[in-house]
Symmetry: C2
């Protein structure tokens, strides 16, 4: 098995969030903030036909979180700790973020999107088309669906 891999950003997020305190978090948080994904100009051709998709997966780097991680972590607004892989904690063995955004439009190498929950300047590692979702009635969401906090 390959033992490590080095990744480099393909672009950067531009949005109005300059501090994590501005980003809605916890149960019922709604992400409607708009922003721009600026892809490196030399990769622009890789965006060909992307404007036909309504939603994208954005894979990005938690570049300003404290280093290291705890295996048990208490999410914002919660009172009980959970395993970090059962949470979206930014402090993870590999500091990868994942966000589904709605694609509003493309201007060359810039994608205008809605639903950003990352800081201005966040490095982007990959973008993939969103092809299908799991229906709400099929989902179980563990501790998030439990009554109370």
């Amino acid at each position: 098995m390959k033992n490590e891999i080095t990744m480099r950003p393909i672009g950067v997020i531009r949005c109005g969030y300059t501090s994590t305190s501005q980003i809605p978090k916890g149960r019922g948080a709604s992400h409607t903030e708009e922003g721009t994904i600026e892809i490196l100009p030399e990769l622009e051709e890789g965006l060909t036909d992307i404007e036909g998709f309504s939603h994208l997966f954005v894979i990005w780097m938690f570049d300003r979180s404290a280093e290291g991680y705890d295996l048990l972590t208490t999410p914002p607004g919660e009172t009980r700790a959970h395993g970090l892989f059962a949470t979206r904690s930014p402090r993870r063995p590999n500091p990868i973020g994942l966000t589904v955004v709605r694609l509003l439009g493309r201007d060359g190498s810039r994608l205008r999107v809605r639903g950003v929950d990352m800081l201005d300047g966040t490095p982007v590692l990959d973008i993939k088309p969103y092809l299908s979702g799991v229906a709400a009635e099929e989902l179980k969401r563990g501790w998030l669906d439990e009554a109370g906090r």
Copy 2:
């Protein structure tokens, strides 16, 4: 902006796929293969409470794809090329794979899952809980929804 990041696997996929030719690809491909995600034993506590979630995002490494990438790529079964970020091509600037799996159960540091589309031995970089999907009626899927091939 941070310029590069080195990632290390948190675990490995175990499944019956030993060659990419065995993995269903293209339009209408259905992923029902079962497999196991073996998380490193020292990270097992990070899986606490994960069994309450029905679906997980698995972020993994395309460790056996040819190096490099083309900005335009023709997906399996298609006749037209598209920008690589509008496809799920394994040859990408950062060789990151993303799969939604159904969680069948957990035995210690092993997660039994359905819906694998990676090769046996694939390194896993992160696991996140799947919290909500985009409804089918809200989705536009670009070239995938166009008539014909």
